[in-house]
Structures are given as structure tokens and as C-alpha cells.
């Protein structure tokens, strides 16, 4: 096991390197540069800016100098924020997304697994249709619709949560992370619910469950001790990248609730062609993906004794 984990962590290096290279060249190939604006600056100004940021050098040279910085963990200055470096931008935006993502994950897991298990156990009866319909509704209502609805209800209506902003909002009882987390959580809960139900149904039909029932093992023990482990297997595969995606920030909820997270930073950096920030966030996200895929693979191995050989 340890060997596997170390091996996977070592794989981070080539993966990140390829990711970096691909993103670097992709973003340079897309038309439009960081310095074009509606009121066009003179060609001289643009030339000066390109020179200042080293963008006038040949592409391979830019690539190599960029690599040499990255190796020292220096991702360069951000073109969007004139006094901040990319490291600083990520350092201040990530905690916001992290909080929202973790809370959303917990909500999604709690609601989703519960709903899925209840539905599977009561297959084709009322308590199957009810949670599954709610789950369907959750998937049908996209975050850019659910977000404003929640903002209007809990923010303007009940005055429980702020509708915009992140700091200095202690005149409402709920922390600004709650509404965005709820919006995201409800959406993913629906997915998890359906996958859980499917997984549980597969397991509940198997012989060893029938044996346990015949032996008189009480229902709740069957569900929790015997079925869950196998039933949750499909969602564990799904959870790794989902968690990584959640904590690196969802652009839509961050925009709707105006929280300064990493999702917004990334999309803005793409639109501003802020190359260092694009690369910084992509590499950061790459690290998260690899780590959490590893975590979910390890969990899968632990949960399913058949895979351990």
C-alpha cells in the first residue's frame, strides 16, 4: 500500500509537467492577448508591455524561462492584479473555495447517501419514488437557477444569509459560505443519491445478502455492515474528482453570491489572458486532482477486499 501511494505521488511530476506544457501552448495559441482593451492602447504601449513581461521573446524561450521559475515554486506576477503575484492570488482565493467546497461536500454526502440508501431499501415503493423525485428535481435545477432562488429566499426574504460578499457580514446569522455550499451541495446530493441507490441495489440482490437475511440478521445490520461497503463503491470512484472540483471553486455559485474564490479567479484569468494566473491555477488544480484521485483509489481498495491482492 505505501509503495503504491508513494508511486502515485511520484507520478505527480510527469503529470504536472505535461499539464503545464499543454496549457502553456494552448493558452498562447488562442487569439487575443492580455493587453487588448475596448479603448485600444497604441501599438507602442502594447509593445512596451509585451517587452516588460517577456512576451516578445520566442515561444520556446518563454516556456523555458517559465519552467525554471515554476521549479522554484514561483508562478510569476499576475497581469490582472498589478501588485500581486500568482502565488498570493491563489493563497487568498483558495481558502474561500475550500470552505465552501468542504461544506458542500458534507451536505451532498449526507443527503445523497441517506436518500440513496432509503430509496434502495424501499425499492419501487413510496419511499423510493419520493427521494428519487427530489433527487431528479435537484439535478434539473441548475446552480445558476438554484443560487438566485436561495439568495432571494434566505437572503432577501428571511434575512438569514448575505446575498453578496465575504467579509464583515456579521449582521446576519449565517456565514457567507452557507448559501453557496447549499446550492452546490443540493446539486451534487442528487447525483450521489442516484448512484448510491444503483450501487445499493446491485449489492442487495447478491447471494450473501440473502444468506444473511435467511440467517436472521436484523435489517439495519444488513444495510450498514454488509451492504454499504459494496453499495458505496461506485460513488467512491466519483467522489475523488468531485471533491477536487468542489474545493477548487465553482465559478457559477461564486459569481451568483459574489464570493472571492478560486473559481472566479480562474475564469477571469482565462478571459483576461492572464497567462501566469491561468497556468498557476491549472497546475494547482492538477495537483488536487491527482491527490484526490489517489485518495479515492485507496478508499476503493480499502473498502473492497476483492481488489486487494
Amino acid at each position: 500500500m505505501i509503495k503504491i501511494i508513494v508511486g502515485r505521488l511520484l507520478q505527480l511530476v510527469p503529470v504536472l509537467w505535461i499539464l503545464l506544457t499543454l496549457t502553456f501552448f494552448l493558452s498562447k495559441v488562442v487569439p487575443g492577448g492580455p493587453f487588448s482593451a475596448e479603448r485600444q492602447a497604441t501599438p507602442e504601449v502594447i509593445a512596451k508591455l509585451n517587452e516588460y513581461y517577456g512576451l516578445d521573446k520566442p515561444l520556446w524561450q518563454q516556456y523555458l524561462s517559465y519552467l525554471s521559475r515554476v521549479v522554484r515554486f514561483d508562478f510569476g506576477p499576475s497581469y490582472t492584479y498589478q501588485t500581486d503575484s500568482v502565488n498570493e492570488v491563489i493563497a487568498r482565493a483558495f481558502p474561500v473555495s475550500l470552505l465552501i467546497g468542504c461544506l458542500a461536500f458534507c451536505i451532498a454526502l449526507a443527503l445523497g447517501v441517506t436518500a440513496g440508501v432509503i430509496a434502495a431499501v424501499n425499492k419501487n415503493k413510496l419511499w423510493d419514488y419520493l427521494p428519487m423525485s427530489l433527487a431528479m428535481a435537484g439535478i434539473c435545477v441548475p446552480t445558476f437557477v438554484m443560487g438566485p432562488i436561495l439568495a432571494l429566499t434566505f437572503g432577501l426574504g428571511l434575512k438569514l444569509a448575505p446575498v453578496s460578499g465575504w467579509y464583515g457580514l456579521n449582521y446576519v446569522p449565517l456565514h457567507p459560505m452557507v448559501m453557496p455550499a447549499l446550492t452546490l451541495g443540493l446539486f451534487y446530493a442528487a447525483y450521489i443519491a442516484r448512484l448510491t441507490r444503483g450501487g445499493m441495489l446491485e449489492v442487495l440482490n447478491q447471494d450473501f445478502i440473502r444468506t444473511a437475511r435467511a440467517k436472521g440478521v436484523p435489517d439495519h445490520q444488513i444495510i450498514f455492515k454488509h451492504a454499504m461497503r459494496g453499495g458505496l463503491l461506485p460513488i467512491v470512484a466519483f467522489l475523488g474528482p468531485t471533491f477536487a472540483g468542489l474545493i477548487s471553486g465553482s465559478f457559477v455559485v461564486e459569481k451568483v453570491f459574489n464570493v472571492p474564490g478560486l473559481g472566479q479567479e480562474f475564469i477571469k484569468s482565462v478571459f483576461n489572458r492572464d497567462y501566469p494566473l491561468i497556468l498557476g491555477t491549472v497546475v494547482f488544480f492538477g495537483v488536487l486532482i491527482v491527490i484526490f484521485n489517489l485518495v479515492s483509489d485507496v478508499l476503493q481498495a480499502l473498502m473492497d477486499p476483492r481488489t486487494r491482492k
Binding site: M132, C140, P142, V145, V282, I289, V290, T307
Partner: protein, 362 residues
């Protein structure tokens, strides 16, 4: 009963039912037919698809003709024809929603306005300067959007796009995802590592940039939209399939197949994959809505369907913004969207149940 001929043996079985051997698929179809919910889902889905394909020819409006003065009128609102006589040329005709009639006469008092509305409601003509107002027979079943375009037609045409994109992209993602994930899971070891690391890289690549690039390089090609979206969605499917394959491949029946000397491809395709159809179908039915919504997000970034064409995702986003003032602009496309998804999911569940060899004769 040795010695008796076959027909005799059958006759000897008496009233027992003649059990005919059936294949997996025939079995599944039989079970599916008995599942009322799944049938309902299938029927409603077909109905929606049919209406979207054929309907726009019968609504009497096109999806792009605007009627600016109508603005956003609510479903089945009465409509008033306003004729303006001009100094030169034909009189100009335009339409106004009955509920917005008050805005035409803002200088008048409230009483005067209600008398005018009363008059018009009864079908009489009302003249004011160069303008003549009269009730018209024009109706919009689902109302109109901000530019006065018939919402019913737009929703149906949007449905064509959403359904096409949804299905095409899902099929692409299922095919690639299943093959990739199954191969990775089955082969294991370094091969598996390599394939999954590639998947990781693709997952972390900035999708937005790639789509911008594709749109720029290849123009506004619809096929491209499917490709771009399908190319992202398969990654999760691959992970799930791989997980399932890994847990299955160590089971006895696979060991049996291996010892029988079956080729690896055959084992993979004919023994392993059919056993993971359950999760595949479930995830596929989850992918379709995801794809439709992703298409909407792309359109907002300027990378999707070109106006005045629309899709359900775009209509829902427009509706979400007008939610407080013109709620029908949200609820109607959302209802179509939800209904389609519910139907697909019932069918998906039904299929999953039908194909599961273990849930058979209970």
C-alpha cells in the same frame, strides 16, 4: 425416460409449460414492458421528442420573428392590434399585449384608462390620434420573450438542439468512457496507471480554453460542440467503469473464463462490460442533463449555439434572470427540461432493472 422419442418426452411433460430459451435482451424487453413507470417514461420522452421535431411547423410562428412592441407577454394574454396611419406609405401594424395596454395611455387618468380597456376587451375599436387599437385573434400559447418571439416555438426548437446535443455527446462519452475505463481496469498495473494519469491530465486541462480554441480554429460547427462536450464527460464515466471492472475481475466467473482460454478482448467485451451496464446506464442518464447544462454555460461564454437559435439551457438561463418579473420565461423551458429528464431516468431505471440478471425472477 430413456428410450422414448423426443415428441413423446414432451407429451409426457403434460401440462407443464413449454419453457422456451430466451436471450438476455429478450428477457430484458419482457421485463421492461411490465414496468409501468419505465413505459410511461419512454412514452413521454418520445412524445416530447416528436413534438420538438415536428411541432415548430405547426405553431404558426417562427423562432426568430420578433415583435418588439409586444415585449414579454404572459401565456395566452389577449393581444391588441395597433394600427398607425402614416403620412406616406402603408399604415404600420404592431401588436401590444393587453396587460401592457395601460402604458400606451400614461397621460390619461386611471378611470379613462379602464374605460378604454373595457371598450377594447369587448371587441370595439378605439382611436387616439394616428393610432387605432382593436382586439386581435393573435395568441401565444406560452407567451413571448423580451423581443416578442413566441415562446412555444422557441422552446420546441430549443428542444431539438438540446436533445441532439445531449444524446450525441452522451453517446460519445459513454463509448469512450466505457472502453477506456474497462481497458484500464482490466489491464491493471502500469497500463492502468498510464491510462488514468492521462485521464487526470485531461480532467485538469482548462476546458474553457480548449473550447475557445476549438471554436476559433474550426468555426461555429455544431458537431464540434458535441465533440467538445463529449470529450469532457467521458472522464467520470471511465473512472466509474474502471472501479467496477476492478472489483469484478477477480471474481470466479472471470477466472473461469480465463482458464477456458478466452481471449482478453472477449472476456472484456462479452463478460465484464455487460455486468457493469447497471452503473453505466445510471450514469448515462445523469450525463444527459449535465451535457445540456454544460451547453448552456458554453453559450454564455460565447461558445455555444449562435443566436437567434436557442437551447433549453440558454432559455432557462434567460428565464432565471427574468424570474422575478416574467416567471413563465423560466418555468416553461424548465418544465420541458425536467420532464425530459424524469422520463429518461424512469427509462434508465427500468432498463437497469430489466438488464440486471440477478433481479430476474423475484
Amino acid at each position: 425416460m430413456a428410450g422414448a422419442s423426443v415428441p413423446d418426452q414432451i407429451a409426457l411433460l403434460g401440462d407443464e409449460q413449454f419453457v422456451k430459451g430466451t436471450s438476455l435482451w429478450q428477457d430484458a424487453w419482457y421485463r421492461l414492458r411490465k414496468n409501468k413507470l419505465a413505459l410511461f417514461g419512454l412514452a413521454s420522452f418520445c412524445f416530447i421528442a416528436l413534438v420538438c421535431i415536428v411541432g415548430p411547423f405547426f405553431t404558426g410562428y417562427t423562432y426568430e420573428e420578433t415583435e418588439l412592441s409586444l415585449k414579454a407577454s404572459s401565456p395566452l394574454d389577449r393581444i391588441v392590434l395597433r394600427t398607425e396611419t402614416r403620412k406616406t406609405g402603408e399604415p404600420k401594424r404592431s401588436f401590444i399585449a393587453f396587460s401592457n395596454l395601460g402604458d400606451e395611455f400614461l397621460e390619461k387618468s386611471r378611470d379613462e384608462r379602464s374605460t378604454i380597456e373595457q371598450k377594447i376587451r369587448q371587441g370595439e375599436k378605439y382611436e387616439e390620434g394616428r393610432f387605432t387599437y382593436q382586439l386581435s385573434a393573435r395568441r401565444h400559447f406560452f407567451g413571448t420573450d423580451a423581443l416578442g418571439r413566441d415562446l412555444l416555438t422557441r422552446v420546441l426548437v430549443g428542444g431539438r438542439i438540446s436533445l441532439a446535443v445531449g444524446f450525441a455527446a452522451t453517446i460519445v462519452s459513454v463509448v469512450i468512457g466505457v472502453l477506456w475505463g474497462a481497458t484500464a481496469g482490466f489491464m491493471g498495473g502500469k497500463f492502468d496507471s498510464f491510462m488514468m494519469r492521462i485521464a487526470d491530465i485531461l480532467y485538469a486541462l482548462p476546458f474553457t480554453i480548449i473550447v475557445i480554441l476549438l471554436m476559433v480554429l474550426f468555426g461555429r460547427n455544431f458537431i464540434l460542440l458535441f465533440v467538445a462536450i463529449g470529450a469532457v464527460e467521458w472522464l467520470n464515466m471511465a473512472r466509474i467503469v474502471r472501479g467496477q471492472i476492478i472489483s469484478l475481475k477477480n471474481q470466479d466467473f472471470i477466472e473461469a473464463a480465463v482458464s477456458l482460454g478466452l481471449s482478453r478482448t472477449r472476456i472484456l467485451l462479452r463478460h465484464l462490460v455487460p455486468n457493469v451496464t447497471g452503473p453505466i446506464i445510471i450514469y448515462a442518464t445523469l450525463t444527459v442533463p449535465n451535457v445540456m447544462l454544460l451547453e448552456a454555460v458554453l453559450s454564455f461564454l460565447g461558445l455555444g449555439v449562435q443566436p437567434p437559435l436557442s437551447s433549453w439551457g440558454v432559455l432557462i438561463d434567460e428565464g432565471a434572470r427574468a424570474m422575478e418579473t416574467n416567471p413563465w420565461l423560466l418555468w416553461i423551458p424548465a418544465a420541458f427540461f425536467s420532464l425530459t429528464l424524469f422520463s429518461l431516468n424512469f427509462v434508465g431505471d427500468g432498463l437497469r432493472d430489466a438488464l440486471d440478471p440477478k433481479s430476474s425472477k423475484d
